[in-house]
């Protein structure tokens, strides 16, 4: 989806320069909520202010709402058809697999070690077994991650005072958002 947005906003309409677009996407992506809506709000606001933000948001959600409303009106009667029920009986186990697979892939990409494996295991245990509301689990995880981030930030700051050269590498690996290297990457590719 993101490449489609970039193509439309950066390449075709030329509303936002490439480096600024990717900078903001990194910020918007870290916000909670529907990612497509966050992106639309940012692009809309950047291009045409508050009205633009609302227009872009509506553009992002109206197709989904329309499709689901149309489906919902027919779905109930439609689903009682034996043929449809048979098809959905086959689909349901597949949906379960389609949710489990990306979660495991995410554990891989998050570089979970044997030590940190306690985090996802505890999350699963609390939500699935103890039926704790995921809301509380998320709040606890945010608190924990924030403390972790502050400690990491302090460490980086300490390196900064000790050695100027290492932090340059360090900071860029943590932030990785400075527009200059991004552009260089882009220019280097073709």
């Amino acid at each position: 989806m993101l490449s489609m947005v970039e193509k439309a906003v950066v390449d075709q309409k030329r509303w936002i320069p490439t480096d600024e677009f990717w900078d903001m996407i990194a910020v918007v992506q870290s916000l909670p909520g529907v990612f497509a809506v966050n992106t639309a709000l940012y692009v809309g606001h950047r291009v045409a202010g508050t009205r633009g933000a609302f227009a872009a948001m509506l553009g992002a959600i109206i197709p989904s709402i329309t499709i689901i409303l149309l489906l919902a009106t027919v779905f109930r009667e439609f689903r009682n058809q034996p043929v449809v029920e048979r098809i959905f009986k086959g689909i349901r186990p597949c949906v379960v697999a389609l949710i489990l697979a990306p979660s495991l892939r995410m554990i891989k990409s998050a570089k979970v070690t044997w030590k940190t494996a306690i985090i996802p295991i505890a999350t699963v245990f609390l939500i699935w077994w103890c039926k704790v509301s995921p809301a509380y689990v998320i709040l606890a995880a945010i608190a924990g991650s924030l403390i972790y981030a502050i400690i990491i930030g302090r460490k980086t700051a300490r390196c900064e005072t000790r050695n100027d050269k290492t932090i340059d590498n360090d900071a860029s690996s943590h932030v990785n958002k400075s527009p200059v290297p991004r552009q260089n990457e882009k220019e280097a590719k073709p």
Partner: protein, 179 residues
Amino acid sequence: MIYLQLLWVFVKIGVLGFGGGYAMLSLIQHEVVEHYGWMTTTDFTDMVAISQMTPGPISINLATYVGYTTGGLGGSLLASFALCLPSIIMVYLILKLFMSKKNNALMDNTLKGLKPAIAGLIFAAGLSMMNLQNFPDFGRGQYNISVIICVLAFVASYFFKANPILLIVLSGLVGFIAY
């Protein structure tokens, strides 16, 4: 009353929904299926399947559907809007208050730490859907077709990154033939 509940539930999901659509599944499922009982697990699973096959964000699709079944057209619009409301406020604030690089690094590291928990959240959503309604032939007869579908789809998705729409269509076909 139902409108207030819808508003509260989906604003909450919008505020806490870190990590994209899949991560929100667990939150939505807990509120909508377990807490309020607006949908059964089977309904929820079917809606996820439909969301996978239609364009657009899963969470908006689910909000629209839940809103429609509990509060009609008004409910569906309200639920979808409630889901977007926190985003509107947050994006607006972020654009107003310039994000400094230091804050950005802090946020980045926080999210990095949050990622394993989000993965667990998604996994829990999948586990909660593993019940006898979704796996009706489990433990009965010789062939557990539903288990076979689940395992094959998992392997295809995890190891071969198969297209989810293709997998849903294929397993629908298997269901049509086998049941």
